[in-house]
């Protein structure tokens, strides 16, 4: 570091305030974060690519500035599923700062990383008030049984109305309609549970029956439609 001639010639005017940064809530403690290693917490960030045709939800569990756990979920573009595969390997073990300057190759994932960084360094994590933070593995809790992302896919037109395709419970196999032809419930197949049963050796048709459920007034419906074929 070099001082210019002008600065060298100046007299000293003493700096008064010296409080450090405002503390941020992290894992149940109030921390004055000065270094990246002062950052801990689990949180989510959502990102999108420039043409906004794909989106990423990123969940990181950070301990002492190091990413210990990463959940990468993507929606909307086939290429980004590959980028997500790479990011889930690349991110763990990096410091939060390092992760910002690592090309995660998909625009949406890079943006999610940036948004998540901002939340976490400003003390807006999900685990801000959880004593000791969340265990490594907490990221998987977002997925539920069968470890599949919570994805909603719905479609509607003015002419033909609404179609439910994917709901939190799973793949929508049928919609139930009332006398007026309005939706009053839906039948779904929980794909995570279905695959778990098939993997254990259960007959696929039996597993399908067991993994099928319904919501709303499905049983009272006047008619049923396949939302993908009808």
């Amino acid at each position: 570091m070099i001082y210019s001639h002008e600065v060298q010639q100046m007299c000293v005017v003493k700096k008064g305030p010296n409080h450090g940064p405002a503390p941020i809530p992290e894992e149940g403690k109030w921390v004055k974060a000065k270094q990246i290693s002062d950052i801990s917490g689990l949180t989510h960030g959502v990102g999108w690519c420039a043409p906004q045709q794909g989106a990423c939800k990123l969940t990181l569990n950070v301990k002492d500035g190091i990413i210990e756990e990463a959940l990468v979920e993507t929606l909307g573009c086939s290429g980004m599923t590959h980028s997500a595969a790479m990011a889930a390997e690349i991110l763990p073990g990096k410091t939060l700062l390092e992760a910002l300057n690592t090309d995660l190759v998909c625009d949406a994932i890079n943006t999610a990383m940036r948004e998540l960084f901002l939340q976490i360094v400003y003390g807006r994590t999900q685990s801000a008030f959880s004593e000791g933070g969340l265990p490594i593995g907490a990221g998987l809790e977002d997925l539920g049984k069968g470890l599949r992302s919570q994805v909603g896919t719905m479609y509607g037109t003015k002419a033909k109305g609404v179609r439910y395709l994917e709901m939190a419970e799973g793949y929508c196999s049928r919609l139930g309609l009332d006398e007026q032809g309005e939706v009053i419930g839906y039948e779904f197949v929980h794909l995570g549970k279905l695959m778990d049963m098939i993997k254990k050796g259960m007959d696929a048709n039996e597993a399908l029956k067991k993994a099928t459920g319904s919501y709303g007034r499905f049983a009272d419906a006047k008619s049923y439609i396949d939302p993908r074929q009808q």
Binding site: M80, S83, M86, I90, T102, D103, V105, C106
Partner: protein
């Protein structure tokens, strides 16, 4: 279900292009290919399993045009395939406007001709899919070439380049860029397979200057 995606928006332009070569429709294209004992639809899906239906049918059409034109050289056939790819571009789309279809056909023709020595993909490393294209090119271009085509994949992201190489069996070339002198040095080369795939060399850059 229609034969391929956005059928209604594409079919008139496709049929118009087919008419120029005296072909009635896509069914006749398929028959022309079958008579010659090739299945471009299947070949397309083998190279890129997640290819859209429209892509696979564009190759069927392209191959039929090549036969009609009597394009006996691979490079000439590639140009004919470009005509079909262009016909499949939706009217008014960016792809149509920029002649992406013809461009791809002409690019393929360049790769098949001997005066092209090396094909360097300058693309993102955002998916394994571009890499599959590289495998397809390396495998098929050399069938007709005397001197093997060198294939290089180059994109941003060193970690991604390494993983793509590992998944696809390419050779990962780790480089180090000196930002002061602009000098690029090869740190290491790791082949991830023993076969033809290892001849594809994959580079990752930290910055556009390194590309």
């Amino acid at each position: 279900m229609a034969l391929f995606e956005s059928y209604e928006r594409r079919i008139d332009k496709i049929n118009a292009a087919l008419k120029e070569y005296g072909i009635k429709d896509l069914a006749e294209c398929k028959a022309i290919c079958e008579a010659k004992g090739i299945d471009p639809y299947k070949m397309c899906k083998e190279i890129q399993p997640i290819a859209f239906e429209n892509a696979a049918w564009a190759y069927v059409m392209g191959a039929a045009i090549a036969f009609k034109k009597g394009a006996h050289k691979a490079a000439d056939a590639a140009e004919a395939i470009g005509i079909a790819l262009q016909a499949f571009c939706i009217p008014g789309s960016v792809a149509e406007d920029r002649k992406v279809g013809l461009g791809h056909g002409n690019l393929a023709a360049m790769l098949l001709r001997e005066n092209t020595k090396c094909f360097a993909f300058l693309a993102g490393h955002e998916s394994f899919a571009a890499a599959e294209g590289a495998i397809g090119i390396a495998k098929s271009a050399n069938k007709v070439r005397k001197e093997p085509l060198r294939v290089i994949l180059n994109g941003l992201g060193k970690d991604a380049a390494m993983i793509i190489s590992r998944i696809n069996g390419f050779t990962y070339v780790q480089t180090s860029f000196d930002y002061y002198t602009g000098q690029l040095t090869i740190v290491s080369e790791t082949p991830y397979s023993a076969g033809d795939r290892a001849k594809v060399r994959c580079f990752g850059a930290d910055d556009v200057r390194e590309l």
